[in-house]
């Protein structure tokens, strides 16, 4: 388990916070702030996922079910409530309740079984939600595959307000999850991740602790989905997509550094940033038309040269990464 040294953490937080706070004032609102809003929502989502994979050792391929549910519940509440503040509050409140119920249900069904089967069950449940969101039966609520456009409360209409709301949400998520993983519960989760059998042998209720982690992660991911929907003022079945959301969040955490918590922020910035770069770039069709191919190559390079992710590798080397320190392919001896 990699622990970010406190000094490095403070420097990173200071730099990131200052840059994020000043960005719209220095560079204005518009395209970049819209991208950053996505980054903040995905960063919170990635941090919630790292709580599972990095701190508890649970691999879920269906984390999009929480993200998507948060996005849809907030979107439907705002669409039905004509963008009223009460519908905003009701939407987020309902999303939290829904996330708790959903995560308890999935945990009850699947957390007692082995990790590989757990991952398969989360994948299946995630797919059920994706199908439901696009189904004709729920079309009056979700608008099926057309997606749902909605208006946000008046006080959120300015670009700047929305930007700072997303940033504030990421800040709150970071503070909460940092405190959570540093708490005695977080310590138990790290123990479970490392040696589940021994944790049981010390009298720790592993299923109960895993369930708690799953609920906390699920609620955070749901809120992140709600914030993402706010930033877009639109939601479609894409928020439940396995490759677009569930696998992307896994990539974000792996690229940033599993078990570092803040690595997810870096991973989200890299992935969302590069995705936006590709989609806005008209030149070099070989790059823009085969986006996933390049992500695949990036993933292979990260796994090969920075197996602990970007931030994880920085931490592992005491805050300094030099080119010489990177692992190389061994030359053949023959």
């Amino acid at each position: 388990m990699k622990t970010i040294p406190i000094r490095l953490r403070h420097i990173m937080l200071g730099l990131f916070s200052s840059l994020a706070l000043l960005w719209p004032l220095l560079f204005g609102t518009g395209g970049t702030t819209a991208t950053l809003e996505q980054v903040f929502a995905f960063a919170a989502f990635a941090m919630s996922y790292d709580l599972l994979i990095g701190y508890t050792g649970i691999i879920s391929f269906g984390h999009a079910m929480f993200f998507g549910t948060g996005a849809y519940v907030v979107a439907i509440a705002l669409a039905r409530g004509n963008g009223h503040t009460m519908s905003f509050l009701f939407g987020f409140g309902l999303a939290v309740v829904g996330a708790v119920v959903l995560s308890l249900l999935v945990a009850f069904i699947s957390l007692r079984i082995r990790n590989a089967y757990f991952a398969m069950i989360t994948l299946a449940v995630g797919q059920v939600f994706a199908v439901m969101a696009g189904s004709q039966g729920l079309r009056q609520w979700t608008h099926g595959n057309d997606g749902l456009t909605f208006s946000v409360p008046n006080w959120l209409n300015g670009d700047l307000t929305l930007y700072y709301l997303c940033l504030f949400f990421l800040f709150l998520t970071a503070v909460f999850l940092t405190r959570f993983v540093a708490s005695p519960v977080g310590q138990v989760l790290r123990g479970i991740r490392e040696n589940e059998s021994r944790a049981v042998g010390l009298g720790l209720g592993v299923v109960q602790f895993k369930t708690l982690a799953f609920v906390v992660s699920g609620v955070t991911a749901t809120l992140a989905g709600g914030v993402y929907a706010l930033a877009q003022s639109f939601v479609s079945t894409g928020v439940y997509d396995v490759s677009g959301i569930s696998l992307n969040v896994l990539l974000m955490v792996v690229i940033g550094g599993v078990g570092t918590l803040y690595g997810g922020v870096l991973g989200a910035a890299v992935l969302v940033g590069v995705q936006n770069l590709f989609s806005n770039w008209s030149g070099w069709p070989i790059l823009t038309q085969h986006e996933m191919l390049w992500f695949g190559i990036l993933y292979i390079l990260i796994v090969r040269f920075l197996p602990q992710g970007i931030l994880g590798s920085v931490v592992a080397r005491g805050g300094v990464v030099s080119w010489r320190a990177l692992p190389r392919f061994k030359k053949s001896q023959t």
């Binding site: 388990m1 005695p184 310590q187 138990v188 790290r190 123990g191 490392e194 040696n195 059998s197 021994r198 944790a199 049981v200 042998g201 010390l202 009298g203 720790l204 209720g205 592993v206």
Partner: protein
Amino acid sequence: MENLLEVDSLATDIGQFHILTGVSFTVPEQQITVLLGRNGAGKTTTLRTMMGYLPPRSGQVRLRGESLQSVPTWQIVRKGVGYVPEDANIFANLSVAENLSLSLPGRHHRNSSNLALTQVQEQFPDLREHWQKPAGVLSGGQRQMLAIACVLVGGPAVMLIDEPSKGLSPLFVERLGDVLLTLQGSTTILLVEQNFYLASRVGQQYVLMDDGKTVAAGPMHELLAALDLQQRYLGIRILSEEMNIP
């Protein structure tokens, strides 16, 4: 002397193999009972069955008369049965202090936790030097000390310790014996041990196993006098016979 643990006609299968076919013994309170036997006799399987890691085919394990049948492992621990397994008995990536605090039942109460950790530092001075280091950097002997300390801070009614001397140098076996001797009279221990020297040094009671069942039990001094039992079930050869000394 009251019996804290009772194992009654325990039988356990692993897959299609009958590993335990009839294990019965008692563990008296505040004594060290040593479970002895050759490799493959079923000692570790007995401990794992008692802890609920393996479901028994038949038989009973009782703690203060209460059956532990179908009780999940973590609840058996909460009822007061501490377990130090043979391998993988620490969290290598957590610090020594974190390993210990995970085992504290009242870890949310800072004062009681600090008191328990201070006692561990006094009892295991080797660990004090490595307090904030990852447990993975400890030597084999220090790891065993940590594993025992982790269970000890939980305040168990009885400790089940599986071959703590395995792979340790004679010096560490000696130190381990010293630690176990400090627990003699205050803690109830069921110790699985291959090292007969250590077993006879710390044990007050013995249980002898062979081929998945118990074959003898009683006070340790009786086993020390029963050379035929030692030879038949533990493979300890009598030096005088080996060397043809009349």
